[in-house]
């Protein structure tokens, strides 16, 4: 009875709002993460990007000032909320936990689920509390408050999803292990050493070439010290690998990706957690090696909500099939580590691109939202990983294949094709805006900023130590005044704030002045060129300091340099600089003036957005009708 009533009510409301009538005009906001104005201009001039060129010629094209620091989570948060970082509270991919000085993920938090103790078993009765750390109100919820339906697809820092007409969360959605993307590599070959994002498992084939193992999933809710597992067996079929993976049987040849494989981790009676993986065979028999993607939350039966309404993720699969759900599915670490080849990686990019396109076109074709916002991150991922192909000075440039050298131009052309498809779907009166959150620059040398802080006497190592592992393992906090963590941040070891703080709050300003002076003077020993273009005082840059995560100093590197991976996690290697010998060869976490994003508009505009922070206000200023 109750149900009937609410259905009736809902129908009445729908009729009352007239939402079943297609809106007259749609504003389409298309994001291409990391699209660079210089590369876009070059390839438009060369005729590679006809649809972008048409927008430039008929509407508007210009640079779009990015956030400081110019990192995607910071910039997309500014895009959504129109707020400066000091108010939206996202300052970096990483934030520091002042009680431990260790690095934590800045974008979202999963607080542990509450559990009931039943006969000694811990049974979850609420899901974990999911918190988006971004403050402020995004333009799509403001638009909804004004009575406009909106669709928002895969915009970074939208997890957990907002309660709007339609939303699929983007960067921030974890994998089933609760991480931002842990893949598994199975190989008959030994590995030099693993990394945090990799689970390496050795294939110990029996003499018939078979191998049976238990593929590990999330922790068992009834005993968190144990992983839940599903059985995985491989056997040779010619040189191909035949997989038996939790009731899925399939055979793959070398270089082949599998379709989606659904695996179910059972943990208590009929309770189970479902996940999706894809498998790629790097090497066939006799020495097989294969990659299993991070375990995606199953959109059909999500372990945690990833969409709004929560059933949307499932309904979408009925329209476009299964798709990647993790926040950053094009996980770059596998390519960096050589656990996927350039070709396999680009194939994965093609797959995620096709998925995003399908859900985007589906949303456009429905015409039930006044604002459709969709972000494609593939431009950013390909630029990060294949900048070596267009930067002759990158240490790996010489070995990049023809495909690799053309990869960035290719993904820009794919973006252009999507623009064309969008134009084809647009009705008279619709508006199209295309933005990127930042541009790109070469990344040739990694700066060990904590090394500089040690050498300058701001950070002290324990007696007898000349270097430190990540997590500031060898740091003597009682004598340390400042430390670097994240991609652009420097923090004062401030008493009353940091657990082992030793600088009095009154002494911070003077210390920052000295730090800015000393860090500005850092030079590349090989060339004598300065490493850092500008340094910013966090106190002025981040007025408000939402979340309390703001760095005290923000480092704006020169193009070609960037904080080393060790620096981001609190490591102190032996040298100031290391050549960047990794495939992660382009970056943008430098002085924001050097890496602006782009803005394209389908119609000329007297006051186009100049900064990523202007976008939301500009959209809400359009006549949305209805």
């Amino acid at each position: 009875m109750k149900q009937l009533l609410s259905t009736l009510l809902a129908t009445l409301l729908l009729v009352a709002c007239g939402a079943s009538e297609p809106p007259e005009r749609v504003v389409i906001v298309l994001g291409f993460d990391g699209m660079d104005p210089n590369l876009a201009a070059r390839w438009m001039d060369e005729g590679l990007l006809p649809n972008f060129a048409r927008l430039r010629d008929e509407g508007h094209f210009g640079p779009l000032a990015t956030s400081n620091p110019p990192q995607s989570p910071v910039a997309w948060s500014a895009f959504a909320t129109g707020l400066p970082a000091g108010q939206h509270g996202i300052y970096d991919f990483l934030r520091r936990d002042p009680t431990t000085h260790s690095a934590a993920y800045a974008i979202s938090e999963t607080r542990p689920p509450k559990t009931l103790n039943v006969f000694g078993l811990k049974v979850p009765y609420t899901g974990g509390a999911l918190v988006n750390r971004r403050q402020g109100e995004p333009f799509w919820t403001r638009a909804e408050a004004q009575g406009h339906q909106t669709t928002t697809l895969r915009v970074p820092v939208t997890y957990p999803p907002d309660d709007v007409h339609r939303m699929l969360a983007g960067m921030g959605v974890p994998d089933l292990l609760g991480t931002q993307g842990t893949y598994t590599l199975y190989s008959t070959s030994a590995r030099a050493g693993g990394s945090g994002n990799t689970r390496f498992r050795r294939l110990r084939l029996d003499r018939n070439g078979q191998f049976t193992t238990a593929f590990e999933g999330p922790a068992n809710p009834s005993d968190v010290s144990q992983s839940m597992t599903v059985p995985l067996t491989i056997a040779p079929e010619g040189t191909a690998i035949r997989f038996d993976f939790d009731d899925n049987a399939f055979t793959l040849n070398e270089g082949q990706w599998s379709d989606w494989i659904r695996i179910e981790f059972g943990y208590f009676g009929v309770l189970s957690v479902s996940g999706l993986v894809r498998v790629h065979v790097n090497r066939a028999y006799p020495q097989p090696e294969f990659y299993i993607s991070p375990i995606q939350i199953d959109p059909v039966d999500p372990a945690v909500p990833i969409s709004s309404p929560s059933k949307y993720s499932e309904r979408l699969t009925e329209r476009i099939g299964l798709y990647h759900t993790i926040g950053m599915p094009e996980e770059t670490w596998s390519l960096n580590e050589g656990d996927l080849s350039d070709d396999a990686y680009l194939e994965m990019i093609r797959t995620t691109l096709a998925e995003r396109e399908a859900m985007y076109y589906d949303a456009l074709d429905r015409r039930d939202s006044r604002i459709v916002t969709a972000v494609f991150v593939q431009t950013d991922r390909v630029s990060h990983m294949f900048y070596r192909g267009i930067d002759p000075e990158h240490p790996l440039h010489a070995e990049v294949s023809e495909t690799g050298r053309n990869a960035i131009a290719w993904i820009y052309q794919e973006a252009d094709r999507i623009v064309g498809q969008t134009r084809a779907r647009m009705k008279p009166g619709d508006r199209l805006m295309i933005v990127s959150d930042h541009g790109f620059a070469p990344f040739r040398k990694a700066v060990h900023l904590n090394r500089a802080l040690v050498d300058l006497g701001y950070l002290k190592l324990k007696p007898g130590q000349s270097t430190s592992a990540e997590g500031f393992a060898a740091v003597d906090w009682s004598q340390s005044r400042a430390y670097a963590l994240g991609l652009n941040g420097v923090f004062i070891n401030q008493s009353g704030r940091e657990q082992f703080g030793e600088v009095a709050p009154g002494a911070t300003q003077a210390l920052k002045k000295n730090l800015i002076r000393d860090l500005s003077a850092l030079k590349d020993p090989a060339t004598g060129e300065p490493l850092i273009r500008r340094l910013f005082d966090g106190a002025t840059l981040y007025a408000g300091n939402a979340n309390g995560d703001a760095p005290d100093i923000v480092v704006g590197y020169h193009a070609g340099y960037r904080a080393s991976w060790q620096t981001t996690l609190g490591g102190v290697p032996g040298t100031l600089l290391s050549p960047n010998n990794s495939k992660w060869s382009g970056d943008h976490c430098i002085d924001p003036e050097l890496v602006p994003g782009v803005v394209f508009l389908s119609e000329p505009d007297d006051a186009p957005p100049r900064s990523i922070r202007d976008v939301g206000q500009w959209i809400l200023g359009l006549p949305l009708g209805g």
């Binding site: 070959s189 030994a190 030099a192 498992r201 050795r202 110990r204 003499r207 010489a398 070995e399």
Partner: protein, 535 residues
């Protein structure tokens, strides 16, 4: 198969309950014997077997399976023997040389506490299997195992050299009788066709003719003292086998290596620019062959004590040849050390766990631990670089599922260095010095400082790096080979170019010893072209 069966009190009680202390062995668990013969090569063994000698090696060859062992990297015995029982490269297991520290200066012999990773005996003990370890390289001080450990320095009667400490107590005199004056004479009479005395005084030397004096100088304090040690270990091995059964018995002999270092020229003068003095040659020519006969006797005693369900694995860490050409020794007295290592050792399996009549190729020193773990039904850690040589195994063992574990989670076996008295250290070092392994002087005191692998002397570092790189190239894993070279170059920029050249040099030496189906030249070419594109 003769066997005495003493029943200790607990066994007696248990046996009484089971009413099975009857000397019947049908129900006993199979025992694995791992016999190490340092420096043994098929190039000596096979011709002797064909000539009707070495009956026990003959039986193993005829009924079991065998192959050539590839030693990659430094042909330095403690490094390789530790690789055999850890499955890891020296960089990982931490035993890098005969002596410590690895930087120039006064040194002491390496100790078990310097091993960074668990050995087979630790893993077997943890799994509740019983083990006995006899005379193993770098096993002093004795580790606490589920069984018995008699270290390589037990004959020196050092404290900590036997576990449990009193295990051999009342038997030591008997076991050590080979080093009594009469024991030595009897032992030496077998090897030396002249009245050789240990530590001979001037009067005795004066009683010898010039050829005998020269022969004496070639064997004194090296070949002869090792024979005494070998005889002790032989008796300990017999004693243990007669007294108890173990799931795993490891025993190690070094007399072939000592004799081959000192006397290869007399054994086989092919390749040398000149011939030895005929009178001296007549005395020393038989000693290397006799060392193999001695090893064959040891093998025979082991075979006699094995039961039908038991199996035996024999390995050597490297082969031998003349110290000429590529293998010439740059040292103070090359004449004294006229034999040198070769990268091809031996591996042979015998008993029901092994296949019959198989000859295998391409087994490396890294594959021995995976094989031993498989034989013991223990899990293989993911980070062991080697693989199981299935062709050596019987179908029954080969078809058992392979157990794996991500890692052993058991580092730093005993940790720390124990103090050893100066005289004993001097003696141990003198023997090593005699083999040309070390030149540095002994200095009293303990050396327990941390070491950084990448900072060891260049000649050592190059060998270790080349060994690892070549292994990974051979196993189609150029990515790891490259990452090791990159790490090496980053750690020692002054050697950056040298590393790659050294890999090529070692590869070309290996090419002269191994057929191209084992050492595919194409793999190096592919690797090098990859390197060129990836500076």
């Amino acid at each position: 198969m003769k066997r005495r069966h003493p029943c200790t009190l607990p066994t007696l009680m248990l046996a009484t309950v089971l009413a099975a202390c009857s000397g019947e062995h049908e129900t006993s668990r199979p025992q694995l014997v791992f016999l190490g013969v340092d420096g043994a090569t098929w190039e000596v063994i096979k011709p002797m077997v064909e000539a009707g000698e070495l009956p026990n090696f003959g039986q193993v060859l005829a009924e079991g399976s065998h192959g050539t062992m590839m030693t990659l990297g430094p042909q330095v015995s403690p490094v390789i023997w530790t690789t055999f029982v850890t499955g890891l490269f020296g960089r990982q297991h931490g035993i890098l040389d005969f002596t410590y520290p690895y930087t120039p200066g006064p040194k002491v012999p390496v100790q078990s506490g310097q091993r960074l990773e668990p050995a087979l005996w630790n893993l077997a003990s943890d799994a509740g299997q019983s083990v006995a370890v006899v005379g193993y390289f770098a096993s002093h001080p004795a580790e606490e195992v589920n069984g018995v450990m008699v270290t390589d320095r037990a004959i020196q009667n050092l404290s900590d050299s036997v576990y449990p400490a009193d295990y051999l107590a009342e038997h030591q005199k008997d076991l050590n009788s080979g080093s009594s004056v009469s024991g030595r004479r009897k032992l030496f009479a077998r090897f030396f066709d002249w009245p050789h005395r240990f530590n001979a005084d001037q009067a005795h030397l004066a009683s010898l003719n010039p050829a005998q004096r020269e022969a004496t100088s070639m064997v004194a304090r090296r070949v002869d003292s090792n024979l005494i040690a070998s005889e002790y270990l032989r008796r300990v091995t017999r004693f243990l086998m007669d007294r108890e059964r173990f799931d795993l018995l490891i025993t190690y002999f070094r007399n072939v290596d000592y004799a081959s270092h000192s006397l290869w020229w007399y054994h086989n003068d092919d390749g040398y620019p000149d011939k030895p003095d005929p009178a001296v040659d007549a005395l020393l020519e038989p000693v290397v062959a006799e060392s193999y006969r001695y090893a064959d006797d040891v093998l025979g005693e082991i075979l006699d004590r094995m039961q039908p369900q038991d199996s035996l694995l024999i390995v050597s860490d490297h082969g031998f040849g003349s110290a000429t050409g590529d293998y010439a020794i740059n040292g103070p007295n090359p004449h004294r050390l006229n034999g040198n290592h070769r990268p091809d050792g031996i591996i042979a399996g015998f008993g029901p766990a092994f296949a019959s009549g198989q000859e295998v190729a391409g087994v490396t020193i890294l594959d021995v631990m995976p094989l031993l773990l498989k034989l013991m039904d223990l899990p293989l850690a993911d980070d062991l670089p080697g693989t199981i040589p299935f062709d050596l195994l019987s179908p029954e063992v080969a078809d058992r599922p392979v157990k794996t574990v991500p890692d052993y989670n058991r580092r730093n076996v005993s940790g720390g260095i124990v103090e050893v008295d100066d005289q004993a250290q001097q003696e141990a070092l003198r023997q090593l010095r005699g083999l040309g392994y070390i030149n540095e002087d002994f200095e009293s005191g303990q050396r327990d400082e941390e070491f950084e692998f990448w900072q060891i002397p260049p000649n050592m570092l190059l060998e270790h790096v080349a060994g690892e790189v070549i292994f990974h190239i051979l196993r189609d894993n150029p990515q790891v080979a490259r990452s090791i070279l990159r790490q090496a170059a980053a750690s020692r920029p002054e050697l950056a170019r040298v590393f790659e050249n050294y890999v090529r040099r070692i590869w070309s030496l290996l090419e002269r010893r191994f057929p191209s189906d084992v050492l595919d030249p194409g793999k190096l070419t592919t690797f090098e072209s990859g390197q060129a594109a990836n500076p």
